[in-house]
């Protein structure tokens, strides 16, 4: 155990976590040149396309240090976006130390701070690393000062590196061995293994990622999940070796690895749960994880109602791998059966949607995201509402409260004006600012969560040309003037398009929805009226004129195949539409309503 180091890399988004992980993997010869690709650990398609890390990943690196001994370094790569801090905190709970990576040109950013706090909460030893020193604009001296003054970390421990060129990475590996503590724990006491992640494999069942706190585990043993007493026989244990898994005779205290036990009942595995031996159980379960709070809610429906069962199993499997997702059954007149889901933010929502569509091949429609409101009724009772379908009868409501957050925005001084304006436009309140370092402003502002989930982050990014960073925490609930905005298509209410909005925004949102639908619904053989309404009154409308003709003029022997394919494409397009009344509404239209105005 003295030769094990479990650590994680934490940083603000784009400061180079995944790139540094790549270099370490290469230095430890862990994958062959042929297998290697950039951003090795970002193996989901969405991660590679968007260039971000969504899931944390583990890899076990054998490293021979300068003292001649071989160490087992367990590296856990983590995501940087605010939506995924839950993923980060779970990853950190399996480590003793962390590398805090800071971009030499950008300096300390909002997520640098947020992730540092998470690491401190978990009592991790921290090695500060300044990355990208190869950049022309790198200012390692200035950043070192920030690290010392703002973060209060020891300047002497700072490592300098370029994850891109590889310079300094070997020193980091040495520092890990030298400064990070080995795991504690007792290999001979009863088994305690913390499940920190899992995913489902169609052939082998659930693959559990776990950190052994005490005891050992090997194939053939009977194990038990502490939370539900489900028992299984271990089929295989092993270590993560980059692209592949490497079976081991056993795992013992301090190690991070995987367990296979032919687990086909998905709900048996819960991240945060403790695994122990059936015959020699531990006295009590490990602390597990803090419950996360979902802040954004939206319903997910399959486009084809036949896909409901598939969606149900897909969500269950996905949740295994994304513990922050919650769901319960929901139904809509327009869309049939689906699920009301809770997310950590809009990016999380998009990622879930994409993963469901890609990994499970189901086309989906999402409803307009909402936050959770508190409705106080005339009898003084309170109901929480996050779904427009459950909007109480307005005559019975005495007041409504909406959640506020406290936002922290870090940015260069010159963007202060535009960012203030953005906060005001979003009903921001009680703004304060100070200069944590020369030329940079830290702005705090209380904002309605509903305004932030919409498109605040994108707007902030563009207002500050990418230099603004943002973090938030839930703050309190405040009085709100909330209305339910309905959308009618040819007079028929499309319940899936209803949304809860503040009265001041209602007209603009209504018009936006009407315009997006007008753009995305293809013309049909009759005229289509689109209206936005609050209560009984129409607040916005658009129309789509009738299609007058749709016919292929020429079709002879040489054209048949090509024209048939065109028709087949048109047919596939129809399949991706939902019929409401007699109007066919494409999936794109539902999604367009969620998009912010540009």
């Amino acid at each position: 155990m003295k030769h094990i180091r479990n650590f994680s890399i934490i940083a603000h988004i784009d400061h180079g976590k995944s790139t540094l992980a790549d270099r370490m993997i290469q230095l430890c010869n862990q994958v062959s040149v042929r297998e290697f690709k950039d951003q090795m650990l970002d193996n989901m398609d969405i991660e590679r396309e968007r260039g971000i890390t969504i899931k944390s990943q583990t890899i076990c690196l054998p490293y021979t240090a300068k003292d001649g001994k071989t160490y087992e370094l367990n590296l856990v790569d983590t995501p940087g976006h605010v939506d995924f801090s839950y993923e980060v905190s779970r990853a950190l709970s399996s480590c003793e130390g962390a590398l805090l990576l800071v971009d030499a040109a950008q300096g300390v950013q909002a997520q640098t701070l947020a992730n540092l706090y998470l690491a401190m909460e978990n009592n991790l030893e921290i090695i500060p690393v300044i990355n990208k020193i190869d950049l022309q604009s790198a200012e390692p001296e200035k950043v070192a000062e920030q690290i010392e003054d703002d973060l209060g970390l020891d300047r002497d421990h700072i490592q300098l590196c370029s994850a891109k060129t590889g310079k300094g990475v070997d020193d980091i590996l040495e520092a890990i061995v030298k400064f990070l503590p080995p795991p504690k724990g007792d290999p001979v006491s009863e088994l305690q293994a913390l499940i920190f992640d899992a995913h489902y494999d169609a052939f082998r069942g659930t693959i559990i990622s776990c950190r052994l706190i005490n005891g050992t585990i090997k194939a053939g043993e009977m194990i038990k999940f502490m939370s539900n007493n489900a028992t299984y026989k271990v089929e295989e244990v092993g270590l993560f070796r980059g692209v592949s898994k490497e079976p081991q005779k056993q795992l013992s205290a301090g190690q991070i690895g995987y367990i296979l036990a032919g687990i086909k009942t998905i709900s048996d595995t819960r991240p945060g749960d403790t695994i122990t031996h059936k015959d020699r159980p531990c006295a009590q379960a490990l602390a597990g994880f803090k419950m996360v709070q979902q802040v954004v809610f939206s319903s997910i429906y399959p486009i084809s109602t036949d896909d409901y069962e598939n969606l149900a199993t897909a969500i269950e499997k996905l949740q295994l791998n994304d513990a922050a997702l919650t769901y319960q059954k929901d139904s809509s007149v327009a869309l049939g059966f689906g699920f009301r889901c809770g997310f950590l933010g809009l990016l999380h929502l998009e990622v879930v949607q994409e993963r469901l569509e890609r990994e499970f091949d189901i086309s989906l429609i999402l409803t307009v995201p909402s936050v959770k409101y508190n409705f106080y009724l005339n009898d003084d009772s309170m109901v929480e509402v996050d779904n427009p379908a459950h909007f109480p009868d307005p005559s019975k409501v005495s007041r409504v409260e909406e959640p506020y957050i406290k936002a922290t925005i870090l940015m260069p001084e010159r963007y202060m004006g535009v960012v203030m304006a953005l906060c005001m436009e979003r009903r921001g309140d009680n703004t304060h600012y100070h200069y944590p370092m020369p030329g940079r402003i830290e702005l705090t502002c209380e904002l309605p969560l509903a305004e932030v989930i919409y498109d605040f982050y994108d707007k902030l990014k563009s207002a500050t040309q990418g230099y603004g960073s943002f973090d938030y925490s839930l703050y309190d609930y405040r009085k709100s003037d909330l209305v339910k905005l309905d959308i009618l298509v040819n007079g028929e209410l499309v319940d899936a398009l209803s949304q809860l909005v503040h009265r001041v925004n209602s007209r603009a949102r209504g018009l936006h929805a009407c315009e997006q639908l007008q753009r995305e619904i293809p013309r049909q053989m009759f005229k289509i009226a689109i209206q936005a309404a609050i209560g009984g009154s129409i607040v916005a409308r658009t129309t789509i004129s009738a299609l007058r003709k749709d016919v292929i003029a020429k079709c002879y022997g040489g054209d048949i195949s090509r024209k048939r394919k065109l028709l087949e494409k048109q047919k596939a397009g129809k399949k991706r539409m939902k019929t409401v009344g007699n109007v066919e509404i494409p999936q794109k239209a539902f999604l367009a309503v969620l998009k912010s105005e540009q």
Binding site: M525, K549, V551, A553, K554, C555, I560, S561, Q570, K574
Partner: protein
């Protein structure tokens, strides 16, 4: 019954809307190409058992870019190799600029009995915009010459929905066409095909196409004028005096079998549809060295073929025959489509008679919407 299509992939110039397999300025290749066609015909004769041909169609491109002698040779060669049924229909497409009395007479004597003239418009300004090398007068004269040469089955190709065209101009073109008393009209709404100069221009907003409102008026005008002239619509874009419907094309719409010769030509035998290489030079080389010219092959499974046959059949005014479908596929139309079909009937887009399924007049305007349900 059998059909044979021969493709001549050459033209005087390339029209900016054209997406056919046709190339201008390959004059040097023409002779070699005719020779290759004859070789391919021989190969076909040796390798396929061909029942007597009831239709032959020389299309393009511009077949009449070849000399009368070359064309006559091609036809007579086919007549030597393959049997023709009595009353076989032998058509050729012609461009007004590429015919003269001698050539027409040679063609007629070779056995060609149907002439399809690419007129496109009787408005010189429109013709110019279309990049056509002929004038309205050339077109009118071509018809006269054809009649004089003994052609008693003449079709004109016209296009509407042209850039800058309004419905008055279309009315004039159509009236002028009718005044020449053609036996058959093919009236095509301009389709802006991908990869053509028109496509580029349209995307840049440089193509002033009539709006949908005007197109609907033109459609109505077309229906009225043709009906008055005794030219009955028998397919989405085709009109004919009774008995002058093009049998070669009807075979396509019935999704029947057809043989093909030439670069870019598509043949369909035993449910296998094969497209030949489009490049005329490559075509010649392959044929000369005895190698295959097939570029793409498609073979639909039974139900897919059934659906294709339904969709193609709906192009015809009479629709698709339920009995023929039953005989050919052992599948029942109503059973197969079920509610989809009932829904289309209820929307007034199709009607089901005792023997056929066909588009209603309204359904003809929305043929794609119907076909996209049935394909």
């Amino acid at each position: 019954m059998s059909s044979l299509y021969i493709h001549i992939p050459f033209c005087l110039s390339k029209c900016p809307y054209c997406s056919f397999v046709s190339y201008p300025g390959m004059d040097k290749l023409h002779q070699r190409y005719v020779a290759a066609l004859l070789l391919e015909a021989q190969w076909l004769h040796q390798n396929a058992s061909v029942s007597p041909l009831s239709t032959l169609f020389l299309g393009g491109g511009t077949p009449t870019i070849f000399s009368g002698r070359e064309l006559a040779q091609l036809v007579s060669c086919c007549q030597e190799l393959f049997a023709f049924s009595d009353q076989a229909e032998i058509s050729i497409e012609a461009n007004p600029k590429t015919i003269n009395p001698e050539k027409l007479s040679l063609l007629r004597h070779s056995g060609i009995n149907r002439l399809s003239i690419g007129v496109q418009s009787f408005n010189d300004k429109e013709l110019q915009l279309l990049g056509r090398p002929h004038s309205a007068e050339d077109a009118a004269e071509a018809v006269q010459l054809a009649r004089a040469a003994g052609f008693d089955n003449i079709s004109l190709d016209l296009m509407y929905g042209l850039p800058g065209q309004d419905h008055y101009s279309w009315q004039q073109t159509l009236e002028q066409a009718i005044s020449i008393a053609p036996d058959h009209l093919s009236l095509y709404e301009l389709t802006v095909e991908q990869g053509t100069p028109y496509h580029l221009q349209r995307n840049q907003g440089l193509l002033d196409l009539p709006d949908e409102e005007n197109m609907v008026i033109m459609d109505q005008l077309t229906a009225t004028l043709c009906r008055q002239a005794g030219l009955a619509q028998y397919e989405i874009s085709n009109y004919a005096r009774p008995g002058y419907e093009c049998r070669h094309n009807i075979n396509y719409w019935q999704n029947g079998p057809y043989l093909a010769l030439g670069a870019g030509a598509v043949g369909c035998v035993d449910g296998r549809r094969r497209q030949k290489t489009c490049d005329p030079r490559h075509y010649c080389e392959q044929i000369e060295s005895g190698q295959s010219v097939v570029q793409e092959e498609e073979c639909l499974e039974r139900t897919a073929s059934f659906r294709e046959t339904v969709v193609m059949g709906l192009r015809m005014t009479c629709g698709v025959s339920k009995i023929q479908l039953q005989q050919r596929y052992e599948m029942d139309l109503d059973d197969y489509y079920g509610d989809t079909l009932i829904h289309l009937v209820n929307q007034g887009l199709v009607e089901i008679t005792a023997s056929h399924l066909r588009l209603t007049a309204r359904g003809r305007s929305f043929a794609n919407q119907v076909m996209a349900e049935l394909v």
